[in-house]
């Protein structure tokens, strides 16, 4: 039992060690990997995933999953981008409110379908994944929002910043992580999310309003995907109805499960997820240096998810062994 405990405690430490070993190994082979400039490359790869991963973590902790995050990102980015294009006079900061608001609404719809009809989140969000992507095409008439329409100030957020030349979207990402940490560790509802995922049957017996908590996590997940959407416009300077956010949900799920969030609910930590995101970032940054085609990325994500599932199972198994006997 105490071995299990220390294993859980060491989960984050384990990811950290993996990151360091990985970086060292790559650095030995290609020294330029360990330069400050490359660190900047790594960091720039991660903010969108990090923001969305905080939302996905909450959803997974509550024993659900959100497959529609990439499409929410795309639709929110499109709504915001079109606003920039069609109403250039409005203040660019308003774009954040619009993107986050759109995302929150789409997330709320997911949550409502899951709670009202008692449907598995995976099927609901597989449906809305396509639904939201389709809507993106419809509202945009399948046209991209080009570079010239994205406000310069917004694009600048991904370029420079007053502090050490680190782009502000990185600060935003870490800011979101800190907020997520506060939410999960220091608010009552944050802990209720964990309680709900840990034992959904007992939660109502302890006065937890399961439906409301579920709605909240899906809404937060959507809102964060929306925030990632406007930052996508900042980072890449365009919004495309088919590319923007496509496949994004898988990167997010990969990062979150590497970060030690259990698919069985109830387990997960913000530091773990942050490290998971960074590890994925390091891998992505190392591939071109090592001469591995970018095409290998998906295969790596897939493998990583499966390995993380196995690790999660091993960790769990020790805990439930007494309760559930496996058929021999």
């Amino acid at each position: 039992m105490s071995a299990l405990r220390s294993l859980l405690l060491r989960r984050e430490a384990g990811i950290l060690v993996m990151i360091m070993l990985f970086c060292l190994a790559v650095g030995l082979y290609k020294p330029q990997f360990l330069t400050g400039n490359n660190l900047r490359v790594i960091l720039l790869l991660t903010p969108l995933i990090m923001i969305a991963a905080m939302g996905q973590m909450l959803v997974l902790v509550a024993r659900h999953v959100d497959l529609s995050m990439g499409s929410i990102l795309g639709l929110s980015a499109m709504v915001t981008g079109m606003m920039f294009r069609d109403m250039p006079q409005i203040p660019w900061m308003l774009g954040f409110a619009v993107a986050i608001g759109t995302g929150a609404l789409l997330g709320l719809i997911n949550g409502a379908l899951v709670t009202l009809f008692r449907l598995p989140a995976i099927i609901v969000t597989l449906g809305t994944l396509n639904l939201y992507r389709g809507l993106t095409f419809i509202i945009s008439n399948a046209r991209q929002v080009d570079r010239q329409y994205i406000p310069t100030e917004l694009k600048a957020m991904s370029q420079t910043s007053p502090i050490f030349g680190v782009p502000s979207i990185i600060f935003i990402a870490f800011g979101v992580a800190i907020l997520a940490y506060y939410f999960t560790m220091h608010t009552r509802v944050g802990r209720q999310v964990f309680a709900l995922g840990s034992n959904p049957v007992a939660a109502p017996l302890r006065g937890i309003k399961a439906n409301q908590v579920t709605l909240l996590v899906f809404t937060i997940s959507g809102a964060l995907a929306g925030l990632a959407g406007i930052l996508y416009a900042s980072r890449w300077g365009f919004v495309n109805p088919s590319n923007t956010g496509a496949g994004f949900e898988f990167q997010v799920i990969a990062a979150v499960v590497i970060g030690g969030v259990s698919i069985n609910g109830g387990v997960g930590s913000v530091p773990g997820v942050v490290l998971g995101v960074l590890l994925l970032g390091c891998v992505s940054a190392a591939l071109p240096l090592l001469g591995i085609p970018g095409a290998a990325q998906n295969a790596i994500y897939g493998t990583v998810i499966l390995i993380a599932l196995l690790i999660d199972r091993t960790v769990r198994q020790q805990g439930v062994l007494g309760l559930r006997r496996l058929p021999a």
Binding site: L113, N130, G134, P293, N298, G302, L326
Partner: protein, 334 residues
């Protein structure tokens, strides 16, 4: 549009479920009946949009474009009835097609290349089965992982290029059997065989039983793990067949073959009245749903609707159809 048509019959079906049930009523509350009604409505609406729809040849040619997906959906129906799910077959199609294409492009004789593709499909089914049956992980999340993995491997193998298929193997959809494109024939034959297997054999019977109550099935001496293994292997091989058929139809293979098509597969099963929590559903239901879906999407194409709108409609259809079948089943449960 189709979404709005779904709810009224569902309500009628639900209200009628009083204890003494006449035969007509048992027939009426079957979700497949709903699918059939929708299909007829769909054809009527579509033929008003375009006279093409009264041309059976046109519908058959349109169906040939989705036949591979529909073929996999048939086996997926059985997997879902058994209480599991597989989201990876579309990626499996891509990887087995890539392996097949790569093999024949590097000089392996076609029959051997096909065999390689099929073996790859079998292996992919085996990997899913390993994680689900041996490691006892939920299939829903395992197959998301393998979906990304298989697609990623296809990407590594094919890179960004398309692999050309040898001239002689191109055009499976242009082979006509009694005027019907071969993929459609394969689909129809597969539907008949699988309907017999699911509805008429003990294997099919036991699929329903483990999907209804796996614990009770075990107590009745049913080896559920063996059945699930067979199903995962089956869907792996069938996905490979579908992938190779797609390769032949398109004439070249890219890693993004059948990208995102898992939705359509799940949708066909759901629209056909398969219960997402297992234990219920039929092959004829999925069969009808496949036609319904082709009519709807072709109808939308004919009506000059953007492909994107079709995507939206598919998403809505998926959600509405699960809600509707859930509703019907929860009413007939007690």
């Amino acid at each position: 549009m189709s979404a709005a048509e779904t709810s009224p019959p569902a309500n009628v079906a639900g209200r009628e479920s009083a204890p003494p049930r006449p035969l007509w009523h048992l027939v009426l509350v079957r979700p497949e009946t709903l699918t059939l009604v929708l299909l007829i409505l769909g054809v009527i609406v579509a033929s008003r949009l375009s006279p093409y729809f009264l041309d059976i040849g046109y519908i058959l040619r349109s169906f040939a474009l989705s036949a591979e997906i529909a073929l996999v959906a048939l086996v997926l129906t059985m997997v879902i009835i058994a209480g599991e799910i597989d989201l990876s077959p579309a990626a499996n199609m891509a990887l087995s097609a890539c392996i097949f294409a790569w093999a024949q492009a590097s000089g392996v004789p076609i029959p051997l290349a096909v065999l390689l593709g099929l073996l790859a499909g079998l292996a992919m089914g085996g990997v899913n089965a390993f994680f689900v049956i041996v490691m006892q992980l939920p299939s829903i999340i395992v197959t998301i992982g393998t979906l990304i993995l298989y697609r990623g491997l296809a990407q590594i193998l094919a890179g960004d290029r398309s692999i050309r298929i040898a001239e002689g193997f191109i055009g499976v959809d242009r082979i006509l059997v009694l005027g019907v494109p071969l993929p459609v024939v394969v689909f129809v034959l597969a539907a008949i065989v699988l309907a017999l297997v699911l509805g008429g054999t003990i294997f099919g019977r036991q699929i329903y039983q483990i999907g209804t109550n796996e614990v009770a099935a075990r107590h009745a001496g049913i080896r559920s793990r063996r059945i699930k293994l067979i199903l995962f292997l089956m869907i792996g091989v069938v996905a490979a067949i579908a992938g190779i058929m797609t390769a032949s139809r398109l004439g070249s293979v890219r890693y993004d073959l059948a990208l995102g098509k898992e939705l359509e597969m799940v949708l066909m099963a759901m629209l056909g009245g398969t219960y997402i929590f297992g234990g219920r559903g039929t092959i004829p239901g999925t069969f009808l749903a496949a036609w319904l879906l082709v009519v709807v999407s072709t109808g939308m194409t004919v009506a000059n609707l953007l492909p994107a709108i079709q995507m939206t409609v598919l998403g809505i259809l998926l959600i509405v159809s699960i809600i509707a079948t859930n509703f019907i089943y929860s009413r007939t449960q007690r």
